[in-house]
């Protein structure tokens, strides 16, 4: 796996580069397209926020990267370049060497990732031994150090416990310890704090960002919470109905969103500084996958929808440098000049 580090895309400083990813899944009624031309990138050490309502394809993007979808009932199109290697074309054994070692993932519900029948110490050791030649003693010491690094006060004791015996916050810490123990280059965090109290959420975010910074791990951070994105991410993308509809540096997007959907999400958050009264909300719902609107997929819910919106949409780019690059999928963005938050 050593050559992985050296073959980072020639010239370009990109860790993950997803190009026109399309995903179809098969259910009882046949094949259905879940992701449509998703393109996004993560640079080394960068924290990318991915936002959007339930069902917009955030988790499916994550699962595609790690190739965790059932092979018989899923079809991938496009490229998922990770350090120059196309994950979309990797074999299962190649993926096994990448998962947990170079890319790892944490989930909203830690119980789905932790095995209830093994102690948490054993599970971390197992992950280590899968990727490194270590004696049991060494693995066990590193597992305890990992538990210690996520702020667990008595790591030797906690290592002997089963996931069932831990609180939600503690389980999330254990999962982070396990995900970061091999110091991966990319961590995909899918709603890691959604089930937690704000106080515990603040602890976990602090921990996650601190550790990632120390190990140089980049994060793809999936969340519903725009506040968390504002607080912790460098860049963000908004997904809607299986597409990326907006992307750019977090501060720029929040201060001046270009897609009406991003603006809608921003304004529907209750704000204690704003007078009580009717909150702006986004009418309607995410369309069903089998009945995608023609033209702009957000059209039926968009209050700015007009004739040009029925035309095909494509992503428009602006900003030359990677750092200030902004993307938007809306035919009217320039004339709209939408209002953001703050600034």
């Amino acid at each position: 796996m050593q050559q992985l580090a050296e073959t980072t895309m020639a010239g370009q400083d990109t860790l993950l580069d997803i190009q026109n990813l399309t995903l179809s899944l098969r259910d009882q009624s046949g094949w259905v397209e879940v992701l449509n031309n998703v393109s996004l990138s993560v640079k080394p050490k960068e924290i990318l926020g991915v936002v959007g309502e339930s069902g917009c394809g955030k988790s499916m993007t994550a699962l595609s990267i790690l190739r965790l979808l059932p092979p018989r009932d899923s079809r991938l199109g496009g490229k998922i370049l990770f350090g120059g290697q196309n994950l979309a074309a990797c074999s299962e054994s190649q993926m096994n060497r990448i998962r947990g070692r170079h890319i790892s993932m944490i989930f909203q519900e830690p119980m789905s990732a932790l095995d209830p029948v093994f102690t948490v110490g054993y599970q971390i050791e197992e992950t280590l031994q899968r990727h490194f030649k270590l004696s049991r003693r060494e693995a066990s010491e590193r597992a305890i150090a990992a538990l210690n690094s996520v702020g667990i006060a008595s790591p030797r004791h906690v290592a002997t416990l089963y996931p069932m015996n831990l609180s939600g916050g503690m389980r999330q810490r254990v999962m982070i310890a396990m995900a970061l123990v091999c110091e991966p280059r990319l961590l995909i965090a899918d709603e890691p704090t959604t089930a937690l109290d704000v106080t515990i959420q603040a602890q976990i975010m602090d921990l996650l960002l601190g550790l990632a910074d120390r190990t140089g791990t980049a994060i793809m951070f999936i969340t519903h919470n725009l506040g968390l994105v504002a607080q912790s991410c460098h860049r963000m993308v908004t997904m809607y109905a299986g597409q990326v509809v907006e992307g750019g540096p977090v501060r720029d997007v929040i201060a001046g969103p270009r897609h009406p959907y991003t603006a809608g999400l921003l304004h529907s958050i209750p704000d204690s500084n704003r007078a009580r009264g009717t909150l702006p909300s986004i009418a309607g719902r995410v369309p069903s996958l089998r009945h995608m609107p023609k033209g702009c997929r957000f059209g039926p819910r968009c209050s700015y929808s007009m004739q040009p919106c029925e035309l095909p949409q494509s992503i428009e780019n602006e900003g030359v440098e990677d750092v200030d690059r902004r993307e938007v999928r809306c035919n009217r963005w320039e004339e709209l000049a939408l209002r953001g938050v703050g600034a």
Partner: protein
């Protein structure tokens, strides 16, 4: 506030309420609600915030008569519901509804939405079948659900729609009070905004009284007139919503406020962040003295041994912390400084205007 003289307009009077679970002799007694007092005016929206395990749901269930107090009491419009016989209580309880976080639990998967919504009236034996259906459709309309939803099954509608149907169901019995327990917690912000608007509208239309339980400060402060902050079975601070959120006078409220992610980058930069260490301690062994002392950033010796009494620091603002006066002083100095600066600013502006 006392049980013998409930105030005239109170929909709910809660006096030194205790609710316990478990067995004291086996050392497993949990004081989920441990001496809580407040009253809610008719037509008021009263918010309750706190971390999970602080006793919010237990309080909510007791408020509507689903759990009996183990000490103290609750009055409904001046009446003690726990003195009623079982059947009287069941009839009385129709006017006191609770809507819970998980709408899935409220719907029978084998029943259509319409059937589920009619069920409370069926049980109460009210009206003819046609009248019940008519009312159900009216309520669906009130919560902005189209009639086509009526014949769907729970798995055929979204989480937000299910939560709306759940509210329609609670409204069927023309309640006086609705306790909303984490009703928007699982929803997307866009749908959450819709629901909060709906609650505000229904409150105006029906003159409802709400107790709005949530661990989300933004949500509670947006919708409520007053809020109570709970920690480990006790109310540590209560007062007008905006004041409590903007100038908390208890270290716990301050920490909750600071843990809330800030969207506006300038506001985020200006804010001092407090990250609380640890979690709510074990329910079986509450800490001595002030229960928050194991996590409090302002803890001092006295906090470990003496429980702080609750007192009214400003009109309508009750706080239980030994150093609440000190915090008030800090905040007053800070806002005074701000006010002076503003006054100076305005003075300058006025001068500028005169010169024109």
């Amino acid at each position: 506030m006392s049980l013998s003289a409930p105030s005239e307009q109170s929909a709910l009077d809660v006096d030194d309420l205790h609710v316990t679970f478990g067995n004291p002799r086996r050392g497993s007694l949990i004081r989920a609600v441990d001496g809580v007092s407040f009253s809610v005016r008719r037509g008021e929206i009263f918010g309750v915030i706190g971390e999970s395990g602080s006793g919010k749901s237990t309080l909510g269930r007791c408020l509507v008569g689903l759990l009996s107090p183990s000490g103290g009491g609750v009055l409904h419009d001046g009446i003690d519901p726990f003195k009623f016989s079982r059947s009287e209580l069941n009839r009385h309880r129709r006017k006191y509804q609770i809507v819970s976080q998980d709408p899935n639990a409220a719907f029978d998967p084998r029943m259509t939405i319409l059937q589920s919504i009619c069920e409370p009236l069926n049980i109460a034996g009210e009206g003819t079948k046609a009248e019940r259906r008519e009312k159900a459709f009216a309520m669906l309309d009130r919560v902005s659900l189209s009639a086509e939803m009526a014949n769907r099954y729970p798995h055929e509608i979204s989480g937000g729609q299910k939560q709306r149907a759940n509210i329609a169901r609670a409204l069927m019995l023309d309640p006086n009070v609705i306790v909303c327990d984490e009703v928007v917690a699982a929803l997307d912000v866009s749908i959450q905004a819709d629901m909060l608007n709906l609650f505000a509208r229904l409150q105006e239309q029906f003159g409802l009284t709400y107790v709005f339980i949530s661990h989300d400060l933004r949500v509670v402060s947006h919708i409520s007139d007053r809020v109570a902050v709970m920690y480990f079975g006790k109310i540590v601070e209560v007062g007008p919503a905006h004041a409590v959120i903007e100038t908390p006078l208890h270290p716990y409220t301050e920490a909750l406020r600071s843990a809330e992610p800030e969207i506006d980058p300038t506001a985020a930069d200006a804010r001092q962040r407090i990250i609380l260490q640890g979690e709510i301690p074990s329910a079986i062994a509450p800490p001595s003295g002030c229960r928050f002392h194991t996590r409090c950033p302002r803890v001092r010796d006295i906090c470990r041994t003496q429980e702080p009494p609750q007192r009214e620091l400003l009109p309508g603002r009750h706080v239980a912390c030994h150093f609440a006066e000190e915090m008030l002083g800090e905040k007053e100095r800070r806002s005074l400084g701000l006010a002076e600066r503003n006054a100076a600013h305005q003075g300058a502006a006025a001068q500028g205007a005169e010169m024109m």
